[in-house]
C-alpha cells in the first residue's frame, strides 16, 4: 500500500500542543473526503493519546512527544510516541475505567478503541510508549 502523504510533528510535552496537534490532524484528515463525524472521532482519539503521553508518560517532567500521520490509499494512520515511564501492564491499562490516577476516568483507551478502526499499544518501562491508531477511509468519494 503506497503512502500518499506523511507528516511528523515533534513537540514538547506542553498541554497547549494537544489542541495544535488536533487542528493539524483535522487538516491532515481533510485531504480525504471523510464525514465531519469521522474527523471529530480522529480528533478525540488523538487528543487522548497525546494527553496520555503528557500526563502519564512524562508527568511533571518535560519531554518530547512525537505524532506521525500517514495517508495511504484507504487508511489514515496516527502514531503517538513518548519516551516517558512506559506502561507496566498494557492489558490492564486498556481496561475501561482503569486509571492509575484517581482523578482521571480511565476512558482514554476506550475512546481510542471506539473511535478508531484499529488500536495497538507498545510500551517498555522506563523507555516509553507508542500508540498506533488507524481510521479506514470508507467514503466512496475518497477513491
Amino acid at each position: 500500500m503506497a503512502i500518499n502523504n506523511h507528516i511528523k510533528m515533534n513537540f514538547t510535552s506542553n498541554s497547549e500542543n494537544i489542541g495544535i496537534a488536533r487542528v493539524t490532524a483535522a487538516a491532515f484528515a481533510a485531504q480525504v473526503d471523510l464525514t465531519l463525524n469521522d474527523i471529530e472521532e480522529i480528533k478525540v482519539a488523538l487528543s487522548e493519546a497525546i494527553s496520555n503521553a503528557i500526563i502519564h508518560g512524562y508527568g511533571d517532567i518535560v519531554g518530547e512527544v512525537e505524532c506521525e500521520m500517514f495517508l495511504s490509499d484507504d487508511i489514515l494512520e496516527f502514531i503517538v510516541t513518548d519516551y516517558g515511564v512506559g506502561i507496566a501492564d498494557i492489558e490492564l491499562a486498556r481496561q475501561p475505567s482503569y486509571s492509575s490516577d484517581p482523578e482521571r476516568m480511565g476512558l482514554g483507551f476506550v475512546f481510542m478503541d471506539s473511535f478508531m478502526d484499529e488500536l495497538s499499544v507498545e510500551s517498555a518501562l522506563g523507555k516509553g510508549t507508542t500508540v498506533r491508531m488507524i481510521k479506514k477511509i470508507t467514503n466512496d468519494k475518497a477513491h
Binding site: 498541554s15 497547549e16 494537544i18 489542541g19 488536533r22 465531519l36 463525524n37 471529530e40 480528533k43 478525540v44 487528543s47 487522548e48 494527553s51 503528557i54 500526563i55 482523578e103 482521571r104 476516568m105 476512558l107 482514554g108 476506550v110 475512546f111 471506539s114
Partner: protein, 111 residues
C-alpha cells in the same frame, strides 16, 4: 478557553467557550470551584454553547464538579450542547448524572 459565571435563583450558571481538554481542565476546575465557594450555590448549569470539542479530560473535570456538589445534594444540568459534545457525554456515561436542556430557563425550572 473563556469561562464566565453568574448566579440565578441560587444556581451557578457557567458559560464555557472553547475546547474542553487536558489543557483547559485546570482553568475550568478552578473557575467553577471558586465561583461555587463564593456564591454558595448548590446546583450548576453548564451552558456549553461555545464548546466545540470535549475529550475524556473534559468529561473528567465535569464529573469532578458533580462529585463536589452531589455531596450536598446538588445537581448538574447542561444546556445548548453541540451534537459532537453530546455524543462524548453520552458515550462516557455522563448523561446519567447530568441532564441536557434546550435553554437555561428550562434547566432552572428542573432544579
Amino acid at each position: 478557553m473563556n469561562i464566565s459565571t453568574i448566579v440565578k435563583q441560587g444556581v451557578l450558571i457557567v458559560h464555557v467557550e472553547g475546547e474542553m481538554d487536558m489543557h483547559s481542565a485546570e482553568q475550568f476546575r478552578s473557575s467553577v470551584d471558586t465561583s461555587l465557594e463564593t456564591s454558595g450555590a448548590k446546583h450548576i448549569i453548564f451552558n456549553l454553547q461555545g464548546v466545540t470539542f470535549i475529550d475524556s479530560s473534559g468529561v473528567g473535570v465535569i464529573l469532578g464538579r458533580y462529585k463536589k456538589v452531589s455531596i450536598l445534594g446538588g445537581k448538574l444540568a447542561a444546556v445548548n450542547v453541540k451534537p459532537q459534545v453530546v455524543r462524548i457525554l453520552e458515550f462516557s456515561g455522563l448523561l446519567r448524572i447530568m441532564k441536557l436542556f434546550g435553554s437555561e430557563s428550562e434547566a432552572l425550572d428542573s432544579l
